[in-house]
Structure formats: C-alpha cells, structure tokens
C-alpha cells in the first residue's frame, strides 16, 4: 500500500462533503423565527386556548406548576391519541415540553422521544423487540432463529454479550459466526488432543456437535 492517501478516496470524500457544506449555507437562514411553529411567545408548554375556563379544574392555588391530586385527563377522548402501556402513567411534561410540538416528535415513532441506544444499527421498528408495557426486550431467541445462526442447545441460554460484546451497552453488531470467534478460550484449553499443535483451529463443526464439545464424530 502506498503511504500517501489515495487520490480517489480524497476526491470521493471531497465530493461528498462539498454538496453538504453548500446545502447548509444555502438553506440556513439568518434566524429561524418560526422554530417549528413553537414560538417562545405562545405561552404555557401546552397551549391552553381550548381548555375550560375554570383553572381550578386542574391547577392548585397560585402555583401553575402543580396540578391537583385528583387531576385526570382522558388523553384518548380529548385528543384522539390513546396512551398505551407505560405511557399511560408517564408525566405530561415527558412528552409535552419545551423542545417542540409533540405531534412532530410523535410522527417520528419511538425515536421521537426515546434515545436510540442501539445507535441506529437495529433499525427504527423498536416494537420488534420492545413493548410499551415494559421496555425489557422479549422474544430474542425466537428472533435469532431468523438469522444465519439459530441458537441451539446452550447457545439459547448464553448471555448476549458473550458473542456480542457491545450488547452490554446496547450496540449489537453482527459477529463472525465461526465457532472460534467465541470459543477461542476453549480452543486454547483443548489438550486432548492438542488442537493447536495439530492445526485443528477452525471448522469445529466437522467433529463437534453444537450442543457439547465431547460429542465427536471423526471422519
């Protein structure tokens, strides 16, 4: 390889960056006063124009931030949007807050409010793994059956991070599915026969079952 950066790579990078910078300069105005039509002058976080006139239906005393203990709001009836699962118990300000109108964020799906700890790598349909009643993922073993590596035997009960190290912090990346990728320690410990000395360092499936190391079929 040449030590100098290749001309083609640099030209490609420049071709990708230049339109980006030009687009940024052209489309960005001096000041976007209509920031998502959520102007600072609009009043409370939730526009109150259509609310009943009696403030005491919801508020307590002279403190606008505190709602009555018996405050209740039928979100589906009043807005046409049902709050499912844990959303039904969430504080209003978790969604209705200063960052912008909630309908814009709701249109983005889960990612409109929830941080994507998977960093975009698992797509946008969170409901494949998560539910609204609890964010704990379910059905992972069944879902793994759709991949090129179904989880057989003890693999079904192996912690995800053993094969996907980033899984501990939410970043699941595919791994090479050769046995030795995850079983390197087992390979180094194998002394009867001495696998490494004999060059038996890959294609474990030629001898071993996926369920146990001692079940061998020699051909």
């Amino acid at each position: 390889m040449s030590e100098r950066p290749s001309f083609r790579a640099r030209a490609t990078l420049l071709a990708l960056v230049a339109p980006l910078v030009i687009a940024a300069c052209v489309t960005q105005g001096v000041r976007s006063s209509g920031l998502h039509r959520w102007w600072a002058g609009l009043g409370p976080v939730l526009p109150h124009e259509n609310f009943p006139a009696d403030c005491s239906l919801c508020h307590v005393g002279d403190d606008w931030e505190t709602l009555r203990d018996d405050f209740a709001f039928d979100h589906e009836k009043e807005t046409g949007v049902a709050l499912e699962g844990a959303h039904a118990n969430a504080r209003c300000l978790r969604c209705h807050n200063d960052r912008g109108p909630v309908r814009v964020f709701a249109a983005k799906g889960c990612a409109g409010c929830h941080e994507d700890v998977h960093q975009g790598a698992l797509g946008s349909t969170c409901t494949r793994c998560h539910q609204e009643s609890t964010w704990q993922p379910v059905g992972m073993i069944e879902m793994h059956s759709r991949t090129r590596f179904p989880l057989t035997g003890a693999h079904a009960h192996t912690a995800c991070h053993r094969c996907h190290p980033g899984g501990w912090v939410g970043t699941f990346q595919p791994v090479d599915n050769e046995c030795v990728t995850c079983h390197r320690d087992d390979l180094q410990r194998a002394t009867n026969p001495p696998h490494i000395n004999l060059g038996l360092v890959d294609r474990c499936d030629r001898c071993h079952m996926p369920t146990r190391w001692d079940q061998v079929s020699v051909r």
Binding site: E3, F51, V104, E142, P150, G153, C163, D176, S217
Partner: protein, 568 residues
Amino acid sequence: MRLVGLLLLCALACSSVTVASAQDDPYRRVRLRITSVGQERTVVVDRGARDKVAGGDLVHFFPRSGGRYAGVVVRVDERSAVVEVTDPGLKPTVGMRGEVRIPRARAERVVRPSEPDPKPAEPVPQEPKPAEPSAGANAPGVKVTWENKDDAYKPGMPLLAGVKPLQPEDRRRRVTGRIYSSGALTHTEFDGWANSFFRIGTALDVDNAFGYGGRFQLDTEINYKKEQNDKSGLDILPRRLSYALGGTRFDEARWEIGRFLPVGMPEFGVLDGVEWMRRGERSSFGAAIGFLPEPTDDFETGADFQVSAFYQWTSDVHEQLTITAGLQKTWHHGKSDRDLIVAKVRSIPLDGWEMRATTWIDVYYGRDQLKDGVELTQAVASIGRRFDNGDELDLVYTRYRFPELLRTAYLPPDARDIDRNHYDRLALEGWFGLGDSTRFHGSLSGFNDEDDAGGAAEAGLEFLDVFAGGDRLDLTAFGTLADFESDAGGRISYGRIGATGRWELFYEFSNRHQVGFDDRLNDLVQHRVRASGGLSFGRGWDGSVYLDTVFFDRDTSVSFGFFLQRSF
C-alpha cells in the same frame, strides 16, 4: 301534526349544527365539512365566526376510510375558516366531514337569547367624549377615569389576558427517573456449566438542576457477572453523566457536555466530550468533539479521540422528509483511524407510508492495511406501510461488513474476516387482520454471507379474547436454512395482558438438522418451555420474572431472571 313536523324539522336542523354531547362537556362540537383544499396542508371549512369558531380551535376530520385526524383553526372569516391539518396521516378531500370543538362558555354566548350582546357597547352620542390624551393627562393630581367597561366578561369565560411563558430557568427543579435491579441465573446439566449476572442501576433526570434551565442526567449501573472464564467480577458501568443546555423553543442552540449519546448523530456512538447543535425551522447542524468510550462492559475511555459534524435538512415543519449527513474522524492513541460518513433519509409521507435508510460509509486511505477507497460498511433500510385497520407490511434490508479499525470495539476479527466477510439480509414482514379477533403474521427473509446463502420463513395466527377478555393465543410455524443447520418447528404461546399485569406460557418444538454430520448425529430435537409474568404494583413499582428451559440432545438448560423497577 304540523306542529309536530315543525318541531321535528327544528330538532333536525339543530342536530345538524351541533353534536349531541353531555351537559358537563366543556365543549360544544360543531359539525363541518371541507369546502376546498389549499396548499401547505391547509383546508377551508364551512364554519366561521358566526358559528363562534376562533383561531386555535381544535378540529377533527373523519374520512370515509375511518380514523380521526386533527387540525387547528388558523384563520377565521364570517362564514368559513382555514384549518391547518396537523396530522400528517390525513389526505384531505372536499366534502370530508369533521367537527370543531368550541369552548361552551364561548359557544353559548349566541345561544342564550337573554345574554347581552358580547360586542363592546357603542359610544352613546349624548355622553361627553373622553378627553383627548395629552401630555398632561398623567400628571400628578389629574384624575384618570378608566372607561373601558368590562361588559363582555361573565364568570366562567376564559381569561383573555396573555400568559407569560415560563422559561426553563424559572421552573422548579424537578427530579425524575428510576432505580432498577435485574438478574439472571443460567445452569446447564452438561459439565455443570453456569453463568449469572446481577445488576442494580439508576437513571436520574434533573430539570433546571443548577438554575440555568439545563438538564442534568445520570445513568449508571453496578454489575456483577459470574462466568466460566476470567471475565467474572464486579463492574461499574457509567452509561451517562451529562448536562445539557438549550435546544428549546426559547433557545435554538443546544449544548451538552459530559458522557452522553449525541442527539444530532447517535450513529457516531457514546461520547465523552461536548456537542453543540443548532435547530432551525428547515435545518439543523452541529458538531461534537471528545473521546469515544469502548462499548464494553465498563466503557473504558481515553484511547479514541473524535471530531464530528452533521447537517440535517427538513422538508417542512412536520419533518415529513429529513435528510441527514455527518462526518466523523477518529484517532486511536493519536494515530489516524477511522473516516466515517453516515447518511440518513427518513420519509413519512401521507397514507401510512414510511421509509427510513441509514448508511455507514468508510473512507480508506492508502495508509490502511487491508482496504482502500470507499466502502459501504453498514446499512439499515426499510420501507413500510401501515393501514388504518392495523395491518402492516415492512421490507427491511440490512448489510454489515467489518470495518478496518485500530479501535478495540468488538471481538477482533482477523485480517481475512475484515477483507472478505459480509452479511446482507432482506426481510419482508407483515401483520394482517382476518377478522375482529384474528390476525395473521408472517416473515420471509433471505441472507447472503461470505460462505453461504439461506433464509427463514415464519407464519402464524394470533387469536385474541379466546377464553377470556384480554387473552391471546398464538400459533406459529417456522423454518430456517442457516449456515450450519436447517431447522423446522412450531411455537405456541398463550397469555393475558391486563391493566396491571401480564403473563405468558410458551412452548417451542424444533428439529435442528446439522450440516456435515452422519445420520446418527445430524438431527437434534429441541424443546423450549418458558413461563413469564409481570406486574405493576402501583406507586411506580413494577416487576417481571421468567423461567426458560431448553431440553436439547440429552441435556437440559434452565434460566431464571427477574427485573424490578421503581419509577419516580
């Protein structure tokens, strides 16, 4: 008879104007129709100021195909009004029905004949006119008489005075978050193999933490793992410790400092550093600088430094189409490492369509050992259609190649893997209703990697309210052609979801045909049984448990886990 007919006619006329509602309903709902469709998601409706419609009133439209879509009145004329359709899912057409909600206090001002004219009283000619304002009118000793009679106000009417918006720094400090604990214990009969983990963690979110209107977030865990290798032990995992300022309707610029996942481009990974971004009406852009923690069980940091920037273009205020591109440059222990471009497109057009695509593109220079030029390292793209009746269809494409990195991020692949490995997968998934309580679900996928090609198929039926309200029975058949085996089997699950709890029983049977073995060993029958349940205890407490057993070959594996959380 004439009288009765007249009364019926009057009742019919009244019912066409107002929707019947309970007397305690604070709103009067007035029916309307769309008379024309304008640009910029606006429509004109046949109700106006004479019907007591006012700017800001909430409108709901009811298309023939079903559903309920929202809009807001933005301009009012005497007999018509302009409504902005805020719900991106609606395609408005002339003649479409709808209704506008008018606060009863306002609406009844015209209904009650005894109520005085809400307009300000006309000046009476014979009364002396108020003195013209002059410089001396406010002088000390001069009596000023307030003559603007508040004759239009009645108790129960909305206050007309403007409300000063509460700034973030004016708000009370508010602490929300959760504490949680989870654990799992797995044991297999073979060789006494076992592993377990236990974790306890907290996620805190403090609004206006230091009086400047910012947001302080802390998310950390203590983990204990016990495994059959040297990775057992105790770890502290500081997932997040950050302070963010701005990014609200009062401030278009946003800063965040600490350990956090960048808002502008989370694809670049968790950052120990600073991010700045600015959000405009049609675009956003920003930059970040700092260290990238390694995505392992203790988030070690300090080895990888990065600078990055992004730009996002938005088609309109509803963000129906956004295009984002970002650049990231990293150094590993001071040595140039990764040049990454991430490009994203998200489109949410009308009629339930949705399209998203994210690509990770690596640019390699001559100094890289294995690769050169530009390579599409990773991609996730999907196009989906959601129907009004709940049916859904998704087509998803994913691609992954190992990037050539100095960074220690994942299980380190060898040079051959980096050079030749790839994984491409295309999947079609769908859910279709077959009646009020039956639903079909299925998926069909295919993959191609450096060694093989294969695929998987699944088809199932979901029955709701089978034996009791809220229960669910699911029957699914599946088959897989994988790299080392081909599987076929079925699953049955039955469970119930209630207001405060849920439970499920699950059984799976499969035959796993191993590739490359003789006839005595190549078929493994595997059974899986699982029981799980969850409960909300109230006052923010909820928890769940599961017991999962796999019977395979001549061995059994058992896994038990729990999760307990208190939200506040």
